[in-house]
Point group: C2
Chain length 238, copies 2
Amino acid sequence: MRPTSWLTAIDGAAERPRAAPGIESPLREIVTAELRQAILAGRYKPGQRLVEDRLAADFGVSRNPVREALRSLAAEGLVALTARRGATVAAPSAADAREMIEVRATLEGLNARHAARRRDPQVIALLSEVLSQGTAAAAAGALDALPDLNARFHDALAAAGSNRVLGDLMRSLRLRTSTVFAPLGAWRARETWEEHAAILKAVIAGDEALSALLAERHVMRAGDDFLRAESGATAADS
Amino acid sequence: MRPTSWLTAIDGAAERPRAAPGIESPLREIVTAELRQAILAGRYKPGQRLVEDRLAADFGVSRNPVREALRSLAAEGLVALTARRGATVAAPSAADAREMIEVRATLEGLNARHAARRRDPQVIALLSEVLSQGTAAAAAGALDALPDLNARFHDALAAAGSNRVLGDLMRSLRLRTSTVFAPLGAWRARETWEEHAAILKAVIAGDEALSALLAERHVMRAGDDFLRAESGATAADS
DNA sequence: ATCGGGCAATCTGTATACAATCCAGAGCCG
DNA sequence: CGGCTCTGGATTGTATACAGATTGCCCGAT
Protein backbone atom coordinates (compact mmCIF):
# COMPACT_ATOMS: atom_id res chain seq x y z
CA MET A 1 0.00 0.00 0.00
CA ARG A 2 2.51 2.60 1.12
CA PRO A 3 5.68 2.56 -0.94
CA THR A 4 8.20 1.10 1.51
CA SER A 5 10.45 1.48 -1.48
CA TRP A 6 12.70 4.14 -0.03
CA LEU A 7 13.58 1.72 2.67
CA THR A 8 15.55 -0.52 0.42
CA ALA A 9 16.73 2.39 -1.66
CA ILE A 10 18.46 4.45 0.99
CA ASP A 11 21.86 2.81 1.43
CA GLY A 12 23.66 6.11 1.21
CA ALA A 13 20.74 7.56 3.11
CA ALA A 14 21.07 11.30 3.05
CA GLU A 15 17.61 12.70 2.43
CA ARG A 16 14.30 11.03 3.06
CA PRO A 17 11.27 11.80 0.91
CA ARG A 18 9.74 13.88 3.65
CA ALA A 19 7.19 15.03 1.13
CA ALA A 20 6.29 11.53 -0.01
CA PRO A 21 2.64 11.75 0.97
CA GLY A 22 3.06 14.37 3.65
CA ILE A 23 0.55 12.55 5.77
CA GLU A 24 2.83 10.43 7.92
CA SER A 25 5.63 12.56 9.28
CA PRO A 26 6.88 11.04 12.52
CA LEU A 27 9.80 8.75 11.86
CA ARG A 28 8.90 6.76 14.91
CA GLU A 29 5.66 5.68 13.29
CA ILE A 30 7.25 4.88 9.99
CA VAL A 31 9.84 2.75 11.71
CA THR A 32 7.18 1.10 13.84
CA ALA A 33 5.09 0.24 10.80
CA GLU A 34 8.01 -1.02 8.75
CA LEU A 35 9.43 -3.05 11.58
CA ARG A 36 6.07 -4.58 12.39
CA GLN A 37 5.62 -5.47 8.77
CA ALA A 38 9.09 -6.99 8.63
CA ILE A 39 8.43 -9.10 11.71
CA LEU A 40 5.05 -10.26 10.49
CA ALA A 41 6.50 -11.05 7.09
CA GLY A 42 9.13 -13.18 8.78
CA ARG A 43 12.07 -11.07 7.69
CA TYR A 44 13.07 -11.08 11.33
CA LYS A 45 12.77 -14.51 12.90
CA PRO A 46 11.38 -15.07 16.39
CA GLY A 47 14.10 -14.87 19.01
CA GLN A 48 16.36 -12.80 16.81
CA ARG A 49 18.06 -9.87 18.49
CA LEU A 50 17.06 -6.40 17.39
CA VAL A 51 20.06 -4.14 17.94
CA GLU A 52 19.17 -0.47 17.99
CA ASP A 53 22.24 0.73 16.14
CA ARG A 54 21.75 -1.83 13.44
CA LEU A 55 18.10 -0.98 12.94
CA ALA A 56 18.87 2.73 12.99
CA ALA A 57 21.41 2.23 10.23
CA ASP A 58 19.02 0.05 8.24
CA PHE A 59 16.28 2.65 8.41
CA GLY A 60 18.63 5.57 7.97
CA VAL A 61 17.50 7.28 11.17
CA SER A 62 18.94 7.85 14.61
CA ARG A 63 18.46 5.51 17.52
CA ASN A 64 15.70 7.50 19.16
CA PRO A 65 12.88 6.73 16.74
CA VAL A 66 14.03 3.14 16.71
CA ARG A 67 13.89 2.92 20.49
CA GLU A 68 10.39 4.30 20.57
CA ALA A 69 9.29 1.97 17.81
CA LEU A 70 10.69 -0.97 19.77
CA ARG A 71 8.77 0.11 22.86
CA SER A 72 5.57 0.40 20.86
CA LEU A 73 6.01 -3.03 19.38
CA ALA A 74 6.87 -4.38 22.81
CA ALA A 75 3.58 -2.99 24.07
CA GLU A 76 1.88 -4.76 21.19
CA GLY A 77 3.65 -7.94 22.20
CA LEU A 78 5.59 -8.37 18.97
CA VAL A 79 8.99 -7.83 20.51
CA ALA A 80 10.31 -8.76 23.92
CA LEU A 81 12.47 -6.37 25.93
CA THR A 82 14.99 -7.59 28.46
CA ALA A 83 16.49 -4.96 30.71
CA ARG A 84 19.99 -4.00 29.61
CA ARG A 85 19.93 -6.76 27.04
CA GLY A 86 17.84 -5.13 24.41
CA ALA A 87 15.03 -6.28 22.22
CA THR A 88 14.33 -9.55 20.48
CA VAL A 89 11.53 -10.66 18.22
CA ALA A 90 8.89 -12.17 20.46
CA ALA A 91 8.93 -15.94 20.47
CA PRO A 92 5.76 -16.99 22.25
CA SER A 93 5.87 -20.44 23.76
CA ALA A 94 3.18 -22.96 22.98
CA ALA A 95 1.63 -22.13 26.35
CA ASP A 96 1.64 -18.41 25.54
CA ALA A 97 0.04 -19.11 22.19
CA ARG A 98 -2.65 -21.18 23.83
CA GLU A 99 -3.42 -18.38 26.26
CA MET A 100 -3.63 -15.77 23.56
CA ILE A 101 -5.82 -17.98 21.40
CA GLU A 102 -8.27 -18.64 24.15
CA VAL A 103 -8.61 -15.00 25.09
CA ARG A 104 -8.93 -14.01 21.49
CA ALA A 105 -11.60 -16.64 20.92
CA THR A 106 -13.63 -15.29 23.79
CA LEU A 107 -13.32 -11.73 22.57
CA GLU A 108 -14.21 -12.65 18.99
CA GLY A 109 -17.27 -14.37 20.36
CA LEU A 110 -18.31 -11.30 22.32
CA ASN A 111 -17.73 -9.09 19.32
CA ALA A 112 -19.69 -11.34 16.96
CA ARG A 113 -22.57 -11.23 19.40
CA HIS A 114 -22.58 -7.46 19.19
CA ALA A 115 -22.30 -7.51 15.44
CA ALA A 116 -25.36 -9.74 15.25
CA ARG A 117 -27.24 -7.45 17.55
CA ARG A 118 -26.49 -4.34 15.54
CA ARG A 119 -26.63 -5.68 11.99
CA ASP A 120 -25.29 -2.46 10.54
CA PRO A 121 -26.12 -2.63 6.82
CA GLN A 122 -23.08 -0.66 5.73
CA VAL A 123 -20.58 -2.83 7.55
CA ILE A 124 -22.38 -5.96 6.48
CA ALA A 125 -22.01 -4.86 2.88
CA LEU A 126 -18.29 -4.43 3.45
CA LEU A 127 -18.07 -7.83 5.11
CA SER A 128 -19.85 -9.47 2.19
CA GLU A 129 -17.48 -7.82 -0.22
CA VAL A 130 -14.38 -8.97 1.66
CA LEU A 131 -15.91 -12.40 2.09
CA SER A 132 -16.40 -12.90 -1.62
CA GLN A 133 -12.88 -11.73 -2.34
CA GLY A 134 -11.45 -14.00 0.32
CA THR A 135 -13.44 -17.00 -0.83
CA ALA A 136 -12.29 -16.42 -4.39
CA ALA A 137 -8.67 -16.04 -3.32
CA ALA A 138 -8.85 -19.17 -1.21
CA ALA A 139 -10.36 -21.12 -4.09
CA ALA A 140 -7.74 -19.82 -6.48
CA GLY A 141 -4.93 -20.57 -4.09
CA ALA A 142 -3.77 -16.96 -4.06
CA LEU A 143 -1.75 -17.43 -0.93
CA ASP A 144 -0.11 -14.01 -1.03
CA ALA A 145 -3.41 -12.18 -0.76
CA LEU A 146 -4.90 -14.28 2.01
CA PRO A 147 -3.28 -12.77 5.10
CA ASP A 148 -4.37 -9.29 4.16
CA LEU A 149 -7.88 -10.43 3.30
CA ASN A 150 -8.13 -12.28 6.58
CA ALA A 151 -7.07 -9.15 8.42
CA ARG A 152 -9.61 -7.09 6.53
CA PHE A 153 -12.40 -9.51 7.30
CA HIS A 154 -11.66 -9.52 10.99
CA ASP A 155 -11.24 -5.76 11.07
CA ALA A 156 -14.60 -5.36 9.38
CA LEU A 157 -16.13 -7.76 11.84
CA ALA A 158 -14.67 -5.68 14.64
CA ALA A 159 -16.20 -2.60 13.07
CA ALA A 160 -19.51 -4.41 12.98
CA GLY A 161 -19.23 -4.96 16.70
CA SER A 162 -18.53 -1.26 17.12
CA ASN A 163 -16.56 -1.60 20.32
CA ARG A 164 -13.23 0.06 19.72
CA VAL A 165 -11.56 -1.26 22.83
CA LEU A 166 -12.61 -4.74 21.90
CA GLY A 167 -11.48 -4.29 18.32
CA ASP A 168 -8.05 -3.08 19.37
CA LEU A 169 -7.54 -6.02 21.69
CA MET A 170 -8.63 -8.49 19.04
CA ARG A 171 -6.29 -7.01 16.48
CA SER A 172 -3.42 -7.03 18.93
CA LEU A 173 -3.97 -10.68 19.74
CA ARG A 174 -4.38 -11.53 16.09
CA LEU A 175 -1.05 -9.92 15.27
CA ARG A 176 0.72 -11.57 18.17
CA THR A 177 -0.46 -14.99 17.14
CA SER A 178 -0.04 -14.46 13.43
CA THR A 179 3.66 -15.32 13.42
CA VAL A 180 2.75 -18.55 15.12
CA PHE A 181 -0.10 -19.31 12.76
CA ALA A 182 1.73 -18.34 9.62
CA PRO A 183 2.78 -21.87 8.66
CA LEU A 184 -0.79 -23.16 8.89
CA GLY A 185 -2.60 -20.19 7.46
CA ALA A 186 -2.30 -21.32 3.90
CA TRP A 187 -3.28 -24.85 4.68
CA ARG A 188 -6.71 -24.18 6.07
CA ALA A 189 -7.56 -21.39 3.69
CA ARG A 190 -10.75 -22.91 2.34
CA GLU A 191 -12.10 -23.95 5.72
CA THR A 192 -11.21 -20.56 7.13
CA TRP A 193 -13.35 -18.78 4.59
CA GLU A 194 -16.16 -21.25 4.94
CA GLU A 195 -16.17 -20.44 8.63
CA HIS A 196 -16.09 -16.75 7.84
CA ALA A 197 -19.12 -17.22 5.62
CA ALA A 198 -20.99 -19.06 8.37
CA ILE A 199 -20.21 -16.32 10.87
CA LEU A 200 -21.37 -13.60 8.54
CA LYS A 201 -24.53 -15.52 7.76
CA ALA A 202 -25.35 -15.81 11.45
CA VAL A 203 -24.63 -12.11 11.94
CA ILE A 204 -26.92 -11.16 9.08
CA ALA A 205 -29.61 -13.39 10.55
CA GLY A 206 -29.21 -11.55 13.83
CA ASP A 207 -28.58 -14.81 15.67
CA GLU A 208 -26.44 -13.58 18.53
CA ALA A 209 -25.77 -16.89 20.21
CA LEU A 210 -24.84 -18.65 16.99
CA SER A 211 -22.62 -15.79 15.85
CA ALA A 212 -20.76 -15.86 19.13
CA LEU A 213 -20.40 -19.61 19.05
CA LEU A 214 -19.14 -19.73 15.48
CA ALA A 215 -16.68 -16.89 15.96
CA GLU A 216 -15.31 -18.47 19.09
CA ARG A 217 -14.99 -21.85 17.47
CA HIS A 218 -13.39 -20.30 14.41
CA VAL A 219 -10.48 -19.08 16.46
CA MET A 220 -10.32 -22.17 18.62
CA ARG A 221 -10.20 -24.44 15.60
CA ALA A 222 -7.22 -22.69 14.11
CA GLY A 223 -5.66 -22.83 17.55
CA ASP A 224 -6.27 -26.53 17.86
CA ASP A 225 -4.59 -27.17 14.55
CA PHE A 226 -1.59 -25.21 15.69
CA LEU A 227 -1.38 -26.92 19.04
CA ARG A 228 -1.65 -30.32 17.47
CA ALA A 229 1.13 -29.54 15.03
CA GLU A 230 3.15 -28.01 17.84
CA SER A 231 2.91 -30.96 20.19
CA GLY A 232 4.33 -33.14 17.45
CA ALA A 233 7.05 -30.71 16.44
CA THR A 234 8.39 -29.57 19.80
CA ALA A 235 8.96 -33.00 21.23
CA ALA A 236 12.71 -32.40 21.07
CA ASP A 237 12.69 -29.16 23.04
CA SER A 238 14.82 -28.47 26.08
CA MET B 1 6.28 1.14 49.48
CA ARG B 2 9.28 2.35 47.52
CA PRO B 3 10.72 5.58 48.88
CA THR B 4 9.63 8.10 46.25
CA SER B 5 11.19 10.48 48.69
CA TRP B 6 14.12 11.50 46.53
CA LEU B 7 11.60 12.71 44.05
CA THR B 8 10.61 15.67 46.12
CA ALA B 9 14.07 16.10 47.54
CA ILE B 10 16.07 16.61 44.39
CA ASP B 11 15.44 20.22 43.40
CA GLY B 12 19.07 20.90 42.69
CA ALA B 13 19.21 17.41 41.27
CA ALA B 14 22.83 16.51 40.86
CA GLU B 15 23.13 12.92 42.02
CA ARG B 16 20.38 10.38 42.34
CA PRO B 17 20.60 7.55 44.87
CA ARG B 18 21.57 5.12 42.17
CA ALA B 19 22.46 2.67 44.89
CA ALA B 20 19.16 3.05 46.73
CA PRO B 21 18.11 -0.56 46.44
CA GLY B 22 20.09 -1.37 43.32
CA ILE B 23 17.19 -3.40 42.07
CA GLU B 24 15.43 -0.89 39.89
CA SER B 25 17.93 0.91 37.74
CA PRO B 26 16.26 2.15 34.59
CA LEU B 27 15.03 5.68 35.02
CA ARG B 28 12.37 5.08 32.42
CA GLU B 29 10.73 2.53 34.68
CA ILE B 30 10.96 4.69 37.74
CA VAL B 31 9.39 7.57 35.88
CA THR B 32 6.75 5.26 34.44
CA ALA B 33 5.84 3.93 37.86
CA GLU B 34 5.80 7.32 39.53
CA LEU B 35 3.81 8.92 36.77
CA ARG B 36 1.30 6.09 36.71
CA GLN B 37 0.92 6.37 40.45
CA ALA B 38 0.46 10.11 40.19
CA ILE B 39 -2.21 9.75 37.55
CA LEU B 40 -4.06 7.04 39.42
CA ALA B 41 -3.85 9.06 42.62
CA GLY B 42 -5.41 11.96 40.78
CA ARG B 43 -2.42 14.26 41.14
CA TYR B 44 -2.75 14.79 37.40
CA LYS B 45 -6.31 15.35 36.34
CA PRO B 46 -7.84 13.79 33.21
CA GLY B 47 -7.29 15.97 30.19
CA GLN B 48 -4.34 17.77 31.73
CA ARG B 49 -1.37 18.31 29.45
CA LEU B 50 1.82 16.45 30.25
CA VAL B 51 4.69 18.54 28.95
CA GLU B 52 7.90 16.60 28.56
CA ASP B 53 10.21 19.35 29.74
CA ARG B 54 8.11 20.00 32.77
CA LEU B 55 7.99 16.34 33.76
CA ALA B 56 11.69 15.96 33.12
CA ALA B 57 12.39 18.84 35.45
CA ASP B 58 10.00 17.47 38.09
CA PHE B 59 11.68 14.08 38.04
CA GLY B 60 15.16 15.48 37.70
CA VAL B 61 15.94 13.49 34.58
CA SER B 62 16.31 14.25 30.90
CA ARG B 63 13.47 14.15 28.44
CA ASN B 64 14.29 10.75 27.05
CA PRO B 65 13.18 8.62 29.96
CA VAL B 66 10.10 10.80 30.24
CA ARG B 67 9.24 10.27 26.60
CA GLU B 68 9.56 6.53 26.92
CA ALA B 69 7.50 6.53 30.08
CA LEU B 70 4.79 8.49 28.31
CA ARG B 71 4.76 5.98 25.45
CA SER B 72 4.48 3.11 27.90
CA LEU B 73 1.60 4.73 29.69
CA ALA B 74 -0.01 5.53 26.36
CA ALA B 75 0.19 1.84 25.49
CA GLU B 76 -1.49 1.12 28.81
CA GLY B 77 -4.16 3.61 27.91
CA LEU B 78 -3.50 5.97 30.81
CA VAL B 79 -2.30 8.86 28.68
CA ALA B 80 -3.38 9.97 25.24
CA LEU B 81 -0.83 11.06 22.66
CA THR B 82 -1.71 13.51 19.93
CA ALA B 83 0.83 13.90 17.15
CA ARG B 84 2.88 17.05 17.56
CA ARG B 85 0.67 18.12 20.41
CA GLY B 86 2.09 15.96 23.13
CA ALA B 87 0.57 13.90 25.87
CA THR B 88 -2.44 14.43 28.05
CA VAL B 89 -3.90 12.39 30.86
CA ALA B 90 -6.44 10.06 29.29
CA ALA B 91 -10.00 11.23 29.71
CA PRO B 92 -12.16 8.36 28.55
CA SER B 93 -15.64 9.33 27.45
CA ALA B 94 -18.66 7.63 28.93
CA ALA B 95 -18.85 5.52 25.78
CA ASP B 96 -15.20 4.51 26.13
CA ALA B 97 -15.78 3.58 29.74
CA ARG B 98 -18.77 1.48 28.82
CA GLU B 99 -16.72 -0.38 26.22
CA MET B 100 -13.88 -1.05 28.60
CA ILE B 101 -16.22 -2.19 31.32
CA GLU B 102 -18.00 -4.64 29.08
CA VAL B 103 -14.78 -6.19 27.80
CA ARG B 104 -13.37 -6.34 31.26
CA ALA B 105 -16.52 -8.01 32.56
CA THR B 106 -16.26 -10.69 29.90
CA LEU B 107 -12.61 -11.31 30.64
CA GLU B 108 -13.16 -11.45 34.38
CA GLY B 109 -15.86 -14.01 33.75
CA LEU B 110 -13.57 -16.14 31.62
CA ASN B 111 -10.84 -15.89 34.22
CA ALA B 112 -13.13 -16.80 37.10
CA ARG B 113 -14.23 -19.85 35.16
CA HIS B 114 -10.64 -20.96 34.92
CA ALA B 115 -10.00 -20.25 38.55
CA ALA B 116 -12.94 -22.44 39.49
CA ARG B 117 -11.66 -25.20 37.27
CA ARG B 118 -8.18 -25.15 38.74
CA ARG B 119 -8.92 -24.49 42.41
CA ASP B 120 -5.26 -24.00 43.21
CA PRO B 121 -5.06 -24.32 47.04
CA GLN B 122 -2.18 -21.88 47.38
CA VAL B 123 -3.81 -19.08 45.45
CA ILE B 124 -7.11 -19.72 47.18
CA ALA B 125 -5.38 -19.28 50.51
CA LEU B 126 -4.03 -15.95 49.30
CA LEU B 127 -7.44 -14.91 48.04
CA SER B 128 -9.02 -15.76 51.38
CA GLU B 129 -6.41 -13.72 53.16
CA VAL B 130 -6.94 -10.68 50.97
CA LEU B 131 -10.68 -11.13 51.20
CA SER B 132 -10.69 -11.01 54.96
CA GLN B 133 -8.48 -7.93 54.97
CA GLY B 134 -10.66 -6.22 52.41
CA THR B 135 -13.87 -7.08 54.22
CA ALA B 136 -12.44 -5.73 57.42
CA ALA B 137 -11.24 -2.55 55.77
CA ALA B 138 -14.60 -2.02 54.10
CA ALA B 139 -16.40 -2.52 57.41
CA ALA B 140 -14.04 -0.16 59.17
CA GLY B 141 -14.35 2.45 56.46
CA ALA B 142 -10.60 2.45 55.83
CA LEU B 143 -10.97 4.14 52.47
CA ASP B 144 -7.28 4.67 51.90
CA ALA B 145 -6.50 0.97 51.97
CA LEU B 146 -9.36 -0.14 49.73
CA PRO B 147 -7.97 0.59 46.26
CA ASP B 148 -4.83 -1.40 46.96
CA LEU B 149 -6.76 -4.27 48.49
CA ASN B 150 -9.10 -4.33 45.54
CA ALA B 151 -6.15 -4.49 43.20
CA ARG B 152 -4.61 -7.29 45.21
CA PHE B 153 -7.81 -9.31 45.18
CA HIS B 154 -8.20 -9.03 41.45
CA ASP B 155 -4.54 -9.78 40.86
CA ALA B 156 -4.82 -12.86 43.01
CA LEU B 157 -7.92 -13.90 41.12
CA ALA B 158 -5.99 -13.46 37.91
CA ALA B 159 -3.26 -15.65 39.32
CA ALA B 160 -5.89 -18.23 40.16
CA GLY B 161 -6.93 -18.23 36.53
CA SER B 162 -3.30 -18.74 35.56
CA ASN B 163 -3.57 -17.15 32.16
CA ARG B 164 -0.99 -14.43 32.03
CA VAL B 165 -2.27 -12.82 28.86
CA LEU B 166 -5.71 -12.66 30.35
CA GLY B 167 -4.39 -11.30 33.62
CA ASP B 168 -2.44 -8.55 31.90
CA LEU B 169 -5.45 -7.46 29.90
CA MET B 170 -7.67 -7.43 32.96
CA ARG B 171 -5.19 -5.35 34.91
CA SER B 172 -4.80 -2.92 32.07
CA LEU B 173 -8.53 -2.43 31.80
CA ARG B 174 -8.86 -2.14 35.54
CA LEU B 175 -6.27 0.63 35.62
CA ARG B 176 -7.80 2.45 32.71
CA THR B 177 -11.20 2.48 34.30
CA SER B 178 -9.97 3.17 37.81
CA THR B 179 -9.74 6.92 37.32
CA VAL B 180 -13.32 6.83 36.17
CA PHE B 181 -14.48 4.65 39.03
CA ALA B 182 -12.55 6.46 41.70
CA PRO B 183 -15.43 8.64 42.90
CA LEU B 184 -17.70 5.63 43.37
CA GLY B 185 -15.17 3.17 44.71
CA ALA B 186 -15.59 4.21 48.28
CA TRP B 187 -19.34 4.25 48.10
CA ARG B 188 -19.90 0.65 47.18
CA ALA B 189 -17.10 -0.72 49.35
CA ARG B 190 -19.22 -3.11 51.36
CA GLU B 191 -21.13 -4.49 48.39
CA THR B 192 -17.90 -4.84 46.45
CA TRP B 193 -16.41 -7.08 49.09
CA GLU B 194 -19.59 -9.06 49.48
CA GLU B 195 -19.42 -9.75 45.77
CA HIS B 196 -15.77 -10.70 46.10
CA ALA B 197 -16.72 -13.15 48.82
CA ALA B 198 -19.41 -14.69 46.64
CA ILE B 199 -17.02 -15.08 43.74
CA LEU B 200 -14.40 -16.72 45.90
CA LYS B 201 -16.97 -19.06 47.39
CA ALA B 202 -18.06 -20.16 43.92
CA VAL B 203 -14.45 -20.66 42.90
CA ILE B 204 -13.73 -22.77 45.95
CA ALA B 205 -16.83 -24.83 45.21
CA GLY B 206 -15.51 -25.38 41.70
CA ASP B 207 -18.70 -24.03 40.19
CA GLU B 208 -17.38 -22.70 36.89
CA ALA B 209 -20.59 -21.27 35.55
CA LEU B 210 -21.49 -19.50 38.76
CA SER B 211 -17.99 -18.10 39.18
CA ALA B 212 -18.06 -16.71 35.68
CA LEU B 213 -21.48 -15.22 36.13
CA LEU B 214 -20.68 -13.59 39.44
CA ALA B 215 -17.38 -12.17 38.26
CA GLU B 216 -18.99 -10.75 35.15
CA ARG B 217 -21.84 -9.25 37.09
CA HIS B 218 -19.43 -7.85 39.65
CA VAL B 219 -17.78 -5.69 37.03
CA MET B 220 -21.01 -4.87 35.27
CA ARG B 221 -22.64 -3.72 38.47
CA ALA B 222 -19.90 -1.25 39.25
CA GLY B 223 -20.15 -0.13 35.65
CA ASP B 224 -23.87 0.38 35.89
CA ASP B 225 -23.45 2.54 38.93
CA PHE B 226 -20.95 4.66 37.10
CA LEU B 227 -23.05 4.97 33.99
CA ARG B 228 -26.09 5.91 35.98
CA ALA B 229 -24.18 8.61 37.82
CA GLU B 230 -22.61 9.74 34.56
CA SER B 231 -25.84 10.09 32.62
CA GLY B 232 -27.07 12.43 35.30
CA ALA B 233 -23.85 14.40 35.55
CA THR B 234 -22.94 14.86 31.89
CA ALA B 235 -26.29 16.16 30.73
CA ALA B 236 -24.65 19.44 29.82
CA ASP B 237 -22.01 17.97 27.52
CA SER B 238 -21.47 19.12 23.96
C1' DA C 1 43.68 -29.48 28.99
C1' DT C 2 40.58 -26.94 31.71
C1' DC C 3 39.17 -23.37 34.55
C1' DG C 4 39.31 -18.62 36.18
C1' DG C 5 40.27 -13.76 35.64
C1' DG C 6 40.59 -9.81 33.21
C1' DC C 7 40.17 -7.07 29.07
C1' DA C 8 38.05 -5.28 25.02
C1' DA C 9 34.20 -4.72 21.99
C1' DT C 10 29.38 -4.10 21.81
C1' DC C 11 25.25 -2.38 23.24
C1' DT C 12 21.93 -0.08 26.10
C1' DG C 13 20.77 3.96 29.12
C1' DT C 14 20.89 8.84 29.61
C1' DA C 15 21.92 13.56 28.59
C1' DT C 16 22.33 17.49 25.67
C1' DA C 17 21.81 20.08 21.39
C1' DC C 18 19.47 21.38 17.32
C1' DA C 19 15.61 21.58 13.96
C1' DA C 20 10.81 21.75 12.83
C1' DT C 21 6.25 22.64 14.07
C1' DC C 22 2.41 24.57 16.35
C1' DC C 23 -0.23 28.02 18.96
C1' DA C 24 -1.26 32.62 20.68
C1' DG C 25 -1.46 37.14 20.33
C1' DA C 26 -0.33 41.51 18.35
C1' DG C 27 -0.61 44.35 14.60
C1' DC C 28 -2.33 45.56 10.10
C1' DC C 29 -5.57 45.92 6.45
C1' DG C 30 -10.09 45.91 4.49
C1' DC D 1 -14.69 46.81 13.99
C1' DG D 2 -13.76 42.17 12.26
C1' DG D 3 -10.73 39.15 10.03
C1' DC D 4 -6.19 37.99 8.36
C1' DT D 5 -1.21 37.56 8.55
C1' DC D 6 2.93 37.37 10.70
C1' DT D 7 6.01 36.74 14.28
C1' DG D 8 7.65 35.07 18.81
C1' DG D 9 7.60 31.66 22.30
C1' DA D 10 6.76 27.16 23.67
C1' DT D 11 6.98 22.21 22.73
C1' DT D 12 7.71 18.17 20.20
C1' DG D 13 10.74 15.47 16.93
C1' DT D 14 15.33 14.00 15.80
C1' DA D 15 20.28 13.64 16.07
C1' DT D 16 24.59 13.16 18.39
C1' DA D 17 27.58 12.35 22.37
C1' DC D 18 28.94 10.07 26.41
C1' DA D 19 28.75 6.85 30.38
C1' DG D 20 27.79 2.43 32.38
C1' DA D 21 26.98 -2.41 31.90
C1' DT D 22 27.16 -6.84 29.82
C1' DT D 23 29.13 -10.39 26.82
C1' DG D 24 32.38 -13.08 24.89
C1' DC D 25 37.11 -13.99 24.19
C1' DC D 26 41.82 -14.48 25.10
C1' DC D 27 45.45 -15.55 27.97
C1' DG D 28 47.68 -17.38 31.82
C1' DA D 29 47.91 -20.41 35.74
C1' DT D 30 47.32 -24.82 37.72
